[in-house]
């Protein structure tokens, strides 16, 4: 777990706590899921940015996406498959 992942885990994870479908996980020890929410909501929260290391990926599963720090390239690939 590195500091740059804390943006996802804390800032976005916190926002998810009060979103209707959000579920924030506490797992900081690995690259596992930072939080899961509806795919649309996840997409809105996690549009890939150029903000340094703020990078994330979405994996859709039954309308739910789980998001964690990985790479912008993965997200771009996922978007192009839509």
């Amino acid at each position: 777990m590195t500091i740059n992942k804390l943006f996802n885990v804390l800032v976005l994870g916190g926002s998810m706590l009060v979103s209707t479908n959000g579920h924030a996980s506490n797992d900081l020890t690995t690259d596992k899921i930072a939080f899961c929410t509806s795919t649309n909501e996840c997409k809105e929260a996690l549009s890939c940015t150029d903000q340094g290391d703020v990078i994330k990926k979405m994996v859709p599963k039954d309308g739910i996406s789980c998001c964690w720090g990985t790479s912008c390239a993965d997200l771009d690939a996922l978007d192009s498959n839509d």
Binding site: I3, N4, L10, G14, L17, V18, A24, N26, L28
Partner: protein, 222 residues
Amino acid sequence: MIKTPQAVKQIWANRKKIELEAAALFAQIAKEAKVIWGNNNAITDLANQAYQDEQRHADLCQKIIGTKKTPIQKLNLEVQLGPNHLSRVEQLVYTSISLSCVTETLSTALLLEMKKLAQPKIIRDTVHEILTDEIRHSRIGWAILATLPKNYDLSWVSMYIPAILNEAYQTEVKPMLSRNYDNQSLEPWGILSPKKSNLIVAKTIKEVIKPGLNKFNIKISA
């Protein structure tokens, strides 16, 4: 069994005081959130849980300090939330940013490093337990910002951020650092050197707190 150095006990005693202050602030946040958002709001539940957690953290610190527990002083829950001239909602926002978005976020980052270095079991277990809770405590602040109506203008907070960051450093980070002691030797006891902790604080402000606040239209010039 290794004897806990006196300097270590002193620093964990500082932490105990900080934990109890945080408990009082979370209790106030829970109360205010109930007034503002009514019964059954997620923030009150989360803040009440944090209030309990912080008291447990103080007990964990006491175990490291080791001496007989001093009689429990009654927690003063009537703490002031933010500057006087702010409105009720503004005071809640100010306190959430100061306590959760800034202090608890910095604490999470510092505990991650402490966790890597901690050696005696009591320190490892304590750091792990506090870290798990601090993640939730930091999220409360970001959750409060996300709860505000989309058109609520948070730009007024920007002018307070330098003071909030400075206050967090002076009162929450600094008392937990090694001073004239042999820096390296205290790291296994969960005490970081000023140099290492300054690097972590700067990186966390730059990569987490600043973009986090920017997301809610609060600018910081750090």
